[in-house]
Symmetry: D2
Subunit: 447 residues, 4 copies
């Protein structure tokens, strides 16, 4: 069988020929020889409830035996139930009534969010964050910061205006959080001071852009955890300027950060939430948006506004419903927060061993980051990051006489960050092992 | 449980509140009371191998027990095998080497096709067909003809130039196929006569647009089956003008029309094929593109060109592989062609009973159409079409003392066409029943 | 002095190095040796009242001695008076109240028309005609058909949709005016039959495009004179679909065709008129738009909506006022119509001598055309056209023992049309001479 | 005569009904009653050589008697001579060979610059400065910062990315020039640090934008004079990133700032210069671009690349030639610099009287600014600015028993700046009078 028939156009990976896997269970992936790899990325934070989660797999199988397919123009009970549960959860959290609309894949759900914004504001373009990533369709590429993803595809007439994310370890303005006085927020607010700053018409009270697209924790950008105060202030500015806030929770939603929505940490209310990934434990690409009633009620967003063949597909909604039940039954806030804190403590302990090279270690729930730097503690070290990642994929780390690999995801503005999104079901022992393996890898690669 | 939390923004349907279903098997859907409905649309031509197809469901379950999830940056055997099989099939059919790239959902695969085109031609915009539908993301909406799908979303800077599809029953030029001399083709070719027709620079030998997007049989447009000669001529013109041809087979690929690709009926070679739906029997949104080596080789479309979390997901590729094996083992060309011919004959027989009202009956393989007109045999009759559809959903058609419904999909430029895409596994008896039910519905609704 | 410091980027001309002239008078240009050239293009139909028109030159000189410059934010009497005279003339002709806004150069006035349209309709794009030319700014290039003018400048997100102009000698549909039944109009109207033809949303009653941009006689397209019935029907369709009609009279306004506005021949009322050229006899680039009160009243188009340094400059308005007085004092409708008819008769007589090569001869007022074809009477012959043009520029045509040149402008979709726009003050003798010279040129070049 | 037929869409002015003038001479405009107004704006810095400049008016009259009009496709001697003189001047200053291309009006010349950029870089969009103003066509509005000028006209797909201008009195970053270390430059350079800042692809070595559009002194923005060091650094960054620099000198070119080009003060070399205004002393809208040979040679920018009817019109080039001769004959660098210094000294003296209210006084040559603030010396005071301006237009300032008005132009990001661009021929006495009048106005209005 030749790989020569596969496009290599998929997201680049540090290995020339990507690693192959044949099975999985819990926190482990197994390669084609059956060797285990402790996975700290879980399919880009999709399989949050563990690989081969018995209960969820069982739900999917039962659905397969009943109604695996159904045209999206028809209804099935789970669609309504999942919508209702998510909308009610939002109502509880935000004290706002809204509705849920499903689609397939995170990017397409973001496209639906853009549609809601354009429909409501009659404005094509938006603000988005440097370091932000919302997908790779043409529409989402226009609001994702990475220019490499646009370069080959000509002109993007709806390109967002990208503003600095409050990424305090690498402050865009070169300041320190201790005494910056939220300078980045002030600079954003300043944009509306005069029409000559290019965005605001004070007479009309209108901004050129209809929305700001954000991630409450930047995922692809390297698990960047922002200070809450920034977003509290930002939301105030947006409201004053009648700019909608779209919260992309595709990677962070459903307790990855220890809250149902990561934006709860920021104490603000979004106009639209985009979700996906963990909702089905990665068993189905089901994604969706929640939007406030004002934006999504059937008067303003009537039947026919959007469509896709697999939107609200019954496999996806069945698993999603089970995930939501599971979240109801157990205190995931506590569970994820505690595991996350423990994991972070271990990493911070390890950081003492590599004080400059592990330039930054941070975490919110089970969204964790280790930023790899040069000896000065700040210059990005993507080469070392890559080396550590590849070494982990070799699968020859030792533990109790057995060989293991360690699967690390590289992210960050400079490709020098390990973004960790381990399973919610990871045990303390597995966390210890992970950190031990990481130590081994560092030891091998640093010199 | 309240429907008030669900967005109604999904594709409009003739019923106010869409019909709910709870299970399915073979050609039947079952409503919440367990009543059967003979389905002639099979989830928008996804479940072509029948609901609850034992073999395919089994494959999916086995995959669930092994490797249900895997980040798209890693490999698994099925991905390579499915790519290879499809690429080799194309090589056999078109005598061209190419590669396959996977994604999730038809629209996103079309977005990947647009990316391949923009990357290769450095041109944003394209030609597309009136009546064509390629998806509802912003990028695919720009090349889909229906203006309603753009109206609420502001300016589309990459809007295609839409040309008439050779829909001979309703010729855009008011001609008859018998003596039109392919006037529509001549009119397209004429566009390149002079720079003042707006598209062509004869000195530079360049067209303003990089590609033409087509469906070999228009799906949403109402299962419109074009004359082959048109496309043979069209391809010649496109080659002369260095315009790529993108063939959207999302609904028609994998033997829906009796050929592996529907474009085989047209005797032309596309530069890009987009596929999806039937590839997984609707069990997974796996979709993809095949493109010629020239457009997709790793030099020109390198790693990082595109990405999505669920691209090439292992559930999808596992089922796809089984579907491809199934297609290898049985002569689907013969099977689909024969069933299609039989179905068409029955419809043609019924047409004699409603000679004007069933204004047009046509079919290619198991892609069939019945166009409902007024007494003049040509004026579209969307009201009657809707009435018949709703009547079928009532579920009170009688057969051997049992009650049934009949599920019909409405399409067409005027929403007056029943586009039929029954299961490939439909039996002669079921076809007879379907036609009988259709006759009952017509009898009830016509007067 | 080196030409090597001049950009050659200006409109291409058949001569490698364009011809130089040093003075002018009446219908004559004089080259650097003082040889006379009978001019049949008059600076692209600007100097309609003759070179060195005593009265107008005198007006300009007096203005130079009084108020040659004034910032456009201030008023001067002539601005108001010219506005009023043009607006009243429109009120008389169209029974509609409107206002006039000035700018500089035809293209920028068209940009102002586009602004009025976008402001009123909230739609970026428009319909325009194949063969139409409205300027070379980026905005006007997007609504001008010639693709060559866009090719080097990347993507045009506001590109118009170009429809065939009723150019009956070369009917886009290959029909004959005698029995076409205005097929081209029917085809335009058909675009609104269904949303799937890409333009119309019947439920909302809205078209994707806000305006249609037209020339009442196509200038650059080769002085194409359309049948009035087409535009009568077109206007009806546009009104039904709420599409504005923008009438570009930059070349044809102010009696070039024998009417104040050329559109008067077509018996329809535009929403916006764009004018320029002859308004100042080419002595100043003053241009402007007239728009109906609905579109241009200060509530909807308030102060600050547009601006340019030389808009309504006092030199331009002074000459314009004098031109308008001149038009009041003499019956230019009669004068231009009679001279035009005489000129056309002479050309038709000459056509008998070159029946096939002078494939088409036509005229409206003093806008005249001679289309040069091959022996079949229809295939465009741009080579011969160019040869004749160059021969005329040699300046060695003989008349009463003196040498002359003949200045012909080449236009047309295939660069095979002489578009004639002689001075309104041309005499019968000069017309005879012009035709005689043309005969000499043809005789020299045909074989 | 009714003003009701004039569009009020022109640039807003502080007076409800703009002031009318009927004649002018030297530095004076005369209203309809013959009262004189000392003009400190000279028709937006067009009539730099004084109203009714005898020599230039005479040149224009002579041209009127010889060749007032000529189609732009033909040549006349002055066109070549003016091109050559400007190109040679640039060659002397910048040590770069280039060519000149003419057009009409500043905005259209900027459009030609955009065309040169898009042709050379194949990139639509660009960087531009907050506070920058390059015209009001659609294309130039997209690169001009003021959002009010876009708001009514829908989506602008080629909108620039606007960066802060080094306007040190109101530093966008809130810093002081003394110790800022050119922070604004560092922030611009930072944009290219990583692909995630949205502009740069380090692997390809390409920026998303093709050019940066600048004014060497911001005109409409309020005569903002930047620190040279900023631009020296900026040019270095642009060269490293292969971004072209377009220098808009429409208001500042031809010695307004005491140098032939204002950019000479900044010690950098632009790729394109746009000029207009003073070139003809406001007697003709002639404008143009100079571009380096690399961008504008006939191979890359061939005949037909652009066009306009009045491009290089003979009246404009005749006056331009005389202006260039005049600049050759007298030392305008010295003259303008000395007068400017004297004027600035007087204003600085006056500032002592209104130390906070005249918040900033600055000047470069005869481009001067007075920024009107509140008592805190920094908060913009547009109300007072407007009051002073209107008071000056009343015409009742006293001098030697005669009544005068004072014409002041309001600009600035907050409409609180008097941008002064007096005649180069203004005398010391007139400067004294102007400052005295300004003092009177301030005295009247401050309380």
């Amino acid at each position: 069988m030749e790989a020569g028939y596969s496009s290599l156009g998929i997201n680049s990976h540090p290995v020339q020929l990507p690693k192959s896997f044949q099975s999985c269970e819990g926190c482990l992936l197994y390669d084609t020889e059956g060797n285990p790899y402790l996975d700290l990325q879980m399919g880009s934070a999709t399989a949050s409830f563990g690989y081969q989660n018995k209960r969820l797999n069982q739900t999917l199988k039962e659905q397969l035996d009943r109604l695996p397919q159904l045209g999206s123009q028809y209804l099935h009970a789970e669609k309504i139930e999942v919508s209702t549960r998510i909308a009610r959860m939002c109502e509880k959290i935000f004290k706002k009534r809204g509705r849920v609309h499903f689609n397939v894949g995170g990017a397409v759900a973001v496209e639906d969010a853009i549609k809601l914004v354009r429909n409501y504001t009659h404005k094509n373009a938006g603000f988005a964050f440097m370091g932000g990533d919302h997908g790779r369709t043409l529409g989402t590429t226009a609001i994702s910061s990475n220019y490499c993803h646009r370069r080959d595809y000509g002109h993007f007439g709806d390109r967002a205006h990208f503003i600095p994310y409050p990424y305090c370890f690498r402050c865009f303005y070169g300041l320190k959080r201790e005494d910056c006085g939220l300078y980045c927020l002030k600079q954003f607010e300043k944009l509306f001071d005069t029409e000559y700053y290019s965005f605001w018409d004070s007479k009309a009270g209108e901004c050129e852009f209809g929305a700001l697209y954000m991630e409450p924790v930047q995922g692809t950008g390297g698990c960047v955890i922002p200070p809450k105060e920034y977003f509290v202030g930002l939301k105030r500015v947006l409201e004053e300027r009648k700019i909608l806030l779209v919260d992309d929770e595709v990677q962070m939603g459903f307790f990855r950060t220890g809250k149902f929505w990561a934006i709860e940490h920021l104490d603000i209310i979004p106009d639209i939430i985009v979700f996906g990934n963990a909702l089905t434990n990665g068993l189905n690409p089901l994604s969706g948006v929640w939007a406030t009633e004002e934006l999504i009620n059937p008067e303003i967003f009537p039947p026919g506004s959007t469509h896709s063949t697999y939107a609200a597909n019954p496999q996806g909604t069945a698993v999603a419903l089970e995930v939501l039940k599971l979240l109801d039954e157990e205190d995931y806030e506590k569970k994820v927060t505690e595991k996350g804190r423990y994991f972070l403590e271990q990493l911070e302990a390890l950081q003492k061993k590599y004080p400059k090279i592990m330039g930054d270690v941070d975490g919110l729930g089970l969204a964790l980051r280790v930023e790899i730097c040069k000896e000065d503690g700040i210059t990005p070290n993507p080469e070392l990051t890559r080396r550590v990642c590849l070494e982990g994929l070799k699968g020859d780390l030792k533990k109790n006489g057995k060989s293991y690999g360690l699967i690390l995801n590289i992210g960050g503005y400079y490709k020098n960050v390990f973004s960790l999104s381990p399973s919610f079901e990871i045990t303390r022992e597995e966390i210890d092992t992970a950190v031990e393996f990481f130590d081994q890898l560092m030891a091998k690669c640093v010199n």
